[in-house]
């Protein structure tokens, strides 16, 4: 798509020109610093889980919601789709912008934490990626169904509550918050062997979220496409 870099700059400018946008960007690093200083963690996993699996999703939800709201809530979207563009590209592009912002910020936190905890941070980061993808896909579904950023927000919040409070309901195999368990950290460090048969739960769990994420993502794109005349 032509002009993508330009639009990216435009969006970023729009983002940093509001106090809310800047506050949102600063929120997670500040939260991470507070968490790190105020609580004493015997296990790295607990802190990693708190940052990557419990706080970062909220951040992802709010960033995505804000990117969607710029066009969807203002009604500008109804005009944009009259231009000769592929609708799925439009959606993908906004998604990409949001992801860039999110991952750059999270990357900065991970870089800082690497100096304290070592490479396990990046392994944990990688391990949480399917979860972020699943969150995004659910939000996209909410967005294209309701045509408002509200749908995306509610979808994301519902998922967050499910992962947080509804965890016992999901059972062992479907847990979204996994890093807090020592065995998962052992697995990520390679101590229990990546290929060991008993570890397949850790693969399948993330594979499942990745798989469902992809399916929902594609469904959202299909739903968003122009109806054939």
């Amino acid at each position: 798509m032509s002009g993508m870099f330009f639009r990216c700059r435009l969006f970023f400018k729009k983002w940093v020109s509001s106090i809310y946008g800047i506050a949102l960007l600063a929120a997670i690093p500040i939260a991470a610093i507070i968490l790190y200083h105020d609580f004493y963690y015997e296990e790295t996993g607990k802190l990693l889980s708190l940052i990557f699996e419990q706080l970062a999703p909220i951040w992802l939800i709010l960033i995505l919601q804000r990117y969607f709201s710029i066009e969807f809530d203002s009604g500008f979207f109804t005009q944009v789709v009259t231009y000769p563009i592929a609708r799925y590209k439009f959606l993908l592009e906004r998604f990409l912008f949001a992801c860039m912002l999110f991952f750059i910020m999270l990357g900065i936190i991970a870089l800082v934490l690497t100096s304290i905890f070592g490479a396990i941070i990046w392994k944990a980061f990688l391990y949480t990626l399917p979860l972020y993808f699943f969150y995004s896909a659910v939000m996209l579904i909410g967005l294209v169904i309701s045509k408002r950023s509200l749908g995306a927000l509610l979808g994301g919040i519902f998922l967050f509550l499910l992962s947080f409070i509804g965890a016992p309901l999901l059972g062992q195999a479907l847990q979204m918050i996994m890093l807090k368990y020592g065995s998962v950290i052992y697995f990520l460090e390679g101590k229990t062997g990546y290929a060991f048969a008993d570890n397949d739960l850790y693969y399948y769990n993330r594979l499942m979220y990745m798989g469902f994420g992809i399916i929902l993502f594609i469904l959202a794109l299909i739903k968003f496409q122009r109806k054939p005349v």
Binding site: D73, S146, L154
Partner: protein
């Protein structure tokens, strides 16, 4: 009023025309279907109430979220579409405008409540329950859910009016997390920052651990306090709504409206304060008593104890509790105990006890100790023999004028009475109580005189908890059996009463037991399965009969092959919380099963594990090798593991005649283990019974071994085969 009716009708039209509002109802139905099938609750051998209440809280939380969001949406919709601006130029009054919306949100919430109650009623009628019982339970559900929706709608409106943008939606999950997160998944261990009293600030009554339903006692404990809690919730919901009307578009509010609102605000505030205060004191006295109990028995781990990692800390604590177990021998015994008990509502107990105490020791003594809960007051204490009684805390000291000689007996009479009510988990549950429809007096409550100096609670200081201590029931072990003759009367107690000893006639119980007395009253039946009395909820009668039969096979096998007589005379099936409070008090006479256990396919493995633990816990000496842990560097590590497996298999074999090789698949201990197991497999060729005999041989050999000596399976196998050939 006509205007309000118009508003309501207009909102109603908008509601039923909005296809998204069908989503919550669909989600509800999907959630129930998921609960029913995915969790395979049906036919799992638990009561229908247990199944329902296990998931009721989840459904409630899900709906709280949905209804709260819808409430915010209903206010935001007209503001975001700018219709509100237009409507404000009409002659509609502020209160009419908002009340119409509020009522429609409430109607929507109550539709979901009715849906849940209907599911509950249909579900409960699949079990043999009386209509009155079902009605009571559905009132409970309705009060919990209806009240919760009422207040979440009001708060949703408040957020929507105060926050005029999309973030008002975020306020709802935030509110739910703030109010519900602390008591949620509550383990009865409130940490330093968490005041258990704050757990009252929830949209529904959350003062229970796990679920409100307690097996044979149903929802009796929570029912009344829940109704009070929900009354307070309803009043506060109206109060919040009145407050919203008060702050909504103040410039176009008439004077009359303002005065009416102020009147409504002051009435609801007064009511809210009164009702909340009743609910608060209701809980607070329980909490206070819990703290009092804790401070009465408190003890420190070690004065110079250094706290290591979490794991080490819990290990030390468990070690401490194990060491503090009551297993000190006491020479005196109560030979005969004639107990006349009168139970009254409101946890009152009056008793007269005729005791025959015997000195089983070898020395004469002039002091005998008894233990009785300090909540009970001794009103009279006399004997034909000259003696004086003095009570200090839980302990009664009998000082005899003439020393009691070995094997001598004397009689005495003790009259006592008072309130007996005990709490666990910071007052969110009761562990000993006498009420109209529920009675539970476990031995650990110390409600009748126990011989010797016994600690009724073990309480340990813990700085990390809000109450600064943790509390556990103790294990009370008797050295000698006692013959009990109990005559039981009750005033105001409406449920059948049963004891750990058999009933002879109406209100009379007689039996000789080492375990002691447990008194249970509730919705329960007694049946006899393979000679064992089983006390359980009526709905569990059938499933318990097959489960206890399995247990019976295992116990009979243990007796036949290992001379371990662990078969109890009585089994009580208790709800989860009470089971874990009492589990350490199981003895050879009295056994407990957990009502919440879902046995399913793996019932035999479950029983094996259970009985293995029973052997470990029982006072009967068991092989030193029976202890998990140890490191693989110890010379006899694998031998001990194989012995453990063999012993477990021999219990399993009593129920399912399956060979050891079949039982012992999927073991991955390495080559050293495999070599040793080959030897066992060779022996197995001579028949399962041969292997059982070998296990018994190992058991005896291990019993004779000191802990320091090595335990070598191969050497013992040689010796055994040699013996068998001879």
């Amino acid at each position: 009023m006509k205007q309000l009716k118009n508003n309501f009708q207009y909102e109603w039209l908008l509601l039923i025309r909005n296809k998204f509002l069908a989503i919550p109802i669909v989600i509800n139905i999907i959630a129930w279907v998921y609960v029913l099938y995915e969790k395979s609750l049906l036919g799992s051998g638990t009561t229908v109430e247990n199944q329902f209440y296990t998931y009721f809280i989840w459904i409630l939380l899900l709906n709280l979220f949905l209804i709260g969001i819808i409430a915010v949406y209903i206010v935001n919709r007209d503001r975001d579409s700018k219709f509100e601006q237009l409507a404000m130029t009409y002659q509609v009054k502020n209160w009419q405008w908002l009340t119409g919306k509020w009522l429609i949100a409430q109607v929507y919430g109550q539709i979901l409540t009715v849906l849940t109650v209907m599911i509950q009623i249909i579900w409960f009628f699949t079990a043999p329950m009386t209509a009155a019982e079902v009605l009571k339970q559905s009132i409970y559900t309705f009060a919990q859910m209806g009240g919760a929706f009422l207040i979440i709608v009001s708060f949703g409106f408040l957020c929507a009016v105060l926050i005029p943008n999309i973030f008002s939606y975020l306020a709802i999950p935030a509110l739910i997390i703030v109010s519900v997160f602390l008591p949620f998944d509550y383990t009865g261990m409130a940490l330093e920052f968490d005041n258990p009293r704050l757990h009252l600030l929830t949209p529904f009554d959350f003062m229970f651990v796990g679920k409100p339903y307690e097996g044979i006692w149903g929802i009796e404990r929570v029912f009344q306090s829940t109704l009070i809690h929900q009354m307070a919730v309803i009043v506060i919901a109206i109060l919040v709504f009145a407050f919203i009307l008060f702050i909504f578009k103040r410039n176009r509010r008439s004077k009359g409206e303002k005065q009416l609102l102020l009147a409504l605000l002051s009435i609801t505030t007064a009511m809210a304060i009164v009702i909340s205060f009743i609910r608060f004191t209701d809980y607070n006295q329980g909490f206070k008593q819990y703290v009092e109990t804790g401070n009465f028995y408190i003890d420190t781990l070690l004065s110079d104890y250094k706290r290591g990692t979490e794991e080490e800390y819990y290990e030390d604590i468990n070690k401490y509790y194990d060491e503090m177990q009551d297993d000190e021998h006491y020479d005196f015994s109560i030979e005969i105990s004639d107990l006349d008990i009168l139970l009254k509502e409101d946890h009152q107990l009056e008793a007269t006890n005729q005791l025959t105490i015997k000195n089983n020791g070898e020395e004469a003594a002039d002091e005998v100790l008894l233990t009785l809960n300090h909540q009970l007051n001794i009103t009279a204490c006399h004997s034909e023999r000259e003696l004086s009684c003095s009570a200090d805390g839980d302990f009664i000291t009998l000082t005899l004028a003439q020393p009691i000689q070995p094997n001598e007996e004397f009689e005495m009479k003790l009259t006592y009475g008072g309130e007996i009510l005990q709490y666990f988990d910071e007052g969110s549950g009761e562990s000993a109580f006498i009420d109209k429809r529920r009675v539970f007096l476990p031995k650990s409550a110390g409600w009748y005189p126990l011989i010797g100096k016994r600690t009724l609670f073990q309480v340990l200081e813990d700085e990390q908890l809000y109450v600064k201590f943790q509390i556990r029931n103790t294990r009370l072990v008797e050295d000698f059996p006692t013959q009990y003759n109990v005559s039981l009367q009750s005033e105001g107690v409406e449920v059948p009463l049963l004891m750990s000893i058999p009933k002879t006639e109406n209100g009379k119980f007689t039996g000789t037991t080492k375990h002691g007395l447990e008194l249970i009253g509730g919705n329960m039946v007694e049946q006899e399965v393979a000679g064992i009395r089983v006390i359980s909820h009526p709905q569990l009668q059938e499933s318990m009969s097959s489960i206890v039969n399995k247990y019976h096979q295992a116990w009979a096998g243990l007796k036949e092959w290992f001379d371990l007589d662990l078969m109890p005379k009585t089994i009580a099936v208790l709800p989860n919380n009470q089971y874990y409070n009492q589990v350490q008090n199981m003895t050879e006479d009295f056994y407990l099963l957990n009502e919440d256990t879902v046995y399913g396919e793996g019932i035999e493995e479950y029983i094996v594990n259970d009985l293995y633990l029973q052997v470990l816990r029982s006072g009967i000496p068991h092989p030193e090798t029976f202890s998990d842990g140890g490191s693989s560097e110890e010379a006899d590590f694998y031998d001990r593991i194989i012995f453990d497996e063999l012993f477990n298999w021999s219990i399993y074999y009593q129920m399912e005649k399956e060979s050891f090789t079949k039982y012992n698949t999927d073991q991955d201990w390495g080559t050293k283990y495999d070599q040793k197991i080959e030897r066992i497999k060779e022996m197995e060729k001579q028949g399962d019974e041969y292997l059982l005999a070998f296990t018994r041989y190992l058991y005896d050999a291990s019993n004779k071994l000191g802990n320091s000596k090595e335990f070598n399976i191969e050497r013992l196998a040689d010796a055994f085969e040699k013996e068998m050939k001879e």
